[in-house]
Amino acid sequence: MANAILFDSTKCIGCRACEGACAEKNGNPYNDAIAAKEKISALKLTTIQTKGEKYIRRMCMHCLEPACASACPVGALTKTAAGPVTYDPNKCIGCRYCMTACAFGAPAYEWNARLPLLRKCDMCSERQKAGKPTACTEACPNEATVFGDRDAMIALARKRMAENPTGYHSKIYGLEEAGGTSVLMISDVPLETLGMPANLAGLKLPALTWRALETIPSLVSVGSVLLGGVYWITHRRAEVEKAEGRKS
């Protein structure tokens, strides 16, 4: 059983209660100036973005096959069985390959710290362990953000679509994107028009580097034997030449 978040843009009224609750839970400051900056940052792990009359929420998508976790050289980022992609600040070396890898711009960095760490939404992993929903879900007054089992969230999204067929675009964003995510989004327009990255359907990023990495064992074994063979042949040849030269 893996948890997920469903964000329904048609129900979001832009009150930013989720932002405030997230800041409080993660020990970040929150005020009007921060609220006005509609961008994920080390101080703002989730943000509401105003898109004309509509709102969209940005946060870590908690991919089923996260590029960040495959990128991290020290395994500081992990996809947990419960759903969240968590971060271990004690392992992180600060290479920022995860930030380069992420398709959603989710990991943020403490650029002004002397020894900076990564900041990202961890889907309130600790609260989940205590059986509680995420702080943002609890704060949402209008069920625009809902939390629960991923299959149940997909069913809920389908139910809302069925009850109001004209009110929704038929696609659930996150079902296929980047190989599937644990944050699902629905709206009355395609989510891509609200700023979500396009062309990610079925794109499992970790597989792309794995294809190169998995050739390494054979490259090492074949390469060593080959180079050893070349060494033996060329030096044997020199030895023979030397010996024959001495004979004549």
Binding site: S70, G94, N112, I216, Y231
Partner: protein, 387 residues
């Protein structure tokens, strides 16, 4: 007289670069990455990764190619340029690690990948390979130190482990030179289609071999100028021939890749990416037009300038992949802050300075036994007598 004033110009430049570099270092340590770089959440990798790491590792590739040529393929002819190439590689890797100390957010944890494993990460593999290969380079260069101090016992030990060591060095280099390209396999959603291809690892590896040759020619030329050595013409011509073959293969593969991916159409769009891509391809192709001619390969000056073009083409390629090709998708425009440039120039200056020091005090150019190894003054004297 002129040589002397030129020398003092370079010396002054060196001190100036060190001074600005040290100031930028102070700013980096006290103010963090935000104070000295134009990096942001949208653009987390900049000049330090693009130049100091990607170009630094590539430009050090002469080390493993010449080790393979001399020790594994037994091409004794290239022995005189082997040790300078290994020295360049060793210093190159030390400077890459130094560059990483600036770029990493937690530089004191640089060793973490050694005990905290993630075999699915390309960065993990690069980390391991660079660590192991820097150790191999240290060992490969160590005989120069042993000879200098006439330590015969470690020299004997070195001979015992030398063959597996050299093979390991070549394998490790092959792995991480290509893996630096694999790093970018993870970002098809960010890297522009002019550069994103599944063949990135192969291209990084091939271009590294070519640039290793070019770099060896480059440093032979400068060493001959700076230390009054004879240019070894047959060696340079041999290197040039290998360079032509490898660079031609690389160039042809790049063109075929564009065709296979139906990417030529992208070049009809007038955008900065197009122009920088064309600049890169010109710098890769143009030296070939020169190097195909025997009169260029036999003329040290022409060969030097052609090799320089190869170096520039290589650098442009790495900068395009790490910066130009990523900018559009990131939604921001990035140009390094002056402190980023100051740190990079500081590291390059350190490289030249350390090379000079090593050549001055260690038997880098002389073959042991051929000439007695003495103090710099004694060698100076010998040179004057010989001249």
């Amino acid at each position: 007289m002129t040589a002397r004033s030129l020398f003092s110009f370079w010396k002054l430049l060196f001190y100036a670069l060190c001074a600005t570099g040290l100031y930028a270092t102070y700013m980096r340590v006290t103010g963090g990455l935000g104070a000295v770089t134009n990096l942001s959440d949208d653009f987390p990798w900049g000049l330090w990764i693009g130049f100091d790491v990607l170009c630094g590792v590539g430009l050090a590739a002469g080390g493993f190619t010449l080790v393979a040529a001399v020790h594994i393929f037994n091409l004794e002819k290239y022995k005189p340029v082997l040790r300078p190439a290994v020295l360049t590689a060793f210093l190159g890797y030390l400077l890459v690690v130094l560059g990483l100390m600036f770029d990493l957010g937690q530089p004191h944890r640089i060793w973490h990948p050694l005990i905290m494993w993630n075999p699915r990460s390309v960065m993990f593999e690069v980390g391991w390979c660079v660590t192991l290969y820097t150790t191999v380079l240290f060992l490969e260069f160590s005989p120069a130190v042993f000879e200098k101090f006439r330590w015969h016992t470690p020299l004997k030990w070195f001979r015992i482990i030398s063959v597996p060591l050299m093979i390991a060095g070549v394998i490790l280099s092959t792995l991480h030179q290509s893996s630096l390209g694999s790093l970018y396999l993870l970002v098809p959603h960010k890297l522009d289609a002019l550069w994103y291809t599944p063949y990135l690892p192969l291209f990084f590896f091939t271009s590294a071999i070519a640039v290793g040759m070019a770099m060896t020619i480059f440093e032979s030329w400068h060493s001959s100028k700076a230390f009054g050595r004879q240019l070894e013409k047959p060696i340079l011509m041999g290197l040039a021939r290998v360079l032509v073959v490898v660079q031609s293969t690389y160039f042809a593969m790049r063109l075929m890749d564009l065709t296979n991916r139906h990417a030529w159409g992208l070049l009809t769009q007038s955008r900065p990416e197009t122009w920088l891509f064309l600049l890169e391809m010109t710098l890769i192709g143009l030296p070939l037009a020169f190097l195909y001619q025997e009169k260029v390969r036999t003329n040290p000056r022409a060969l030097y300038w052609s090799s320089l073009l190869v170096l520039f083409g290589f650098i442009t390629n790495r900068m395009n992949i790490s910066i130009t090709g990523i900018e559009r998708a990131s939604g921001v425009s990035y140009f390094p802050k002056w402190t980023e440039i100051a740190v990079t120039l500081f590291i390059v200056a350190l490289g030249f300075g350390l090379f000079r020091l090593a050549v001055r005090y260690l038997p880098v150019f002389e073959e042991p036994g051929v000439e007695e190894i003495g103090s710099p003054r004694a060698r100076e004297l010998r040179r004057t007598i010989a001249a």
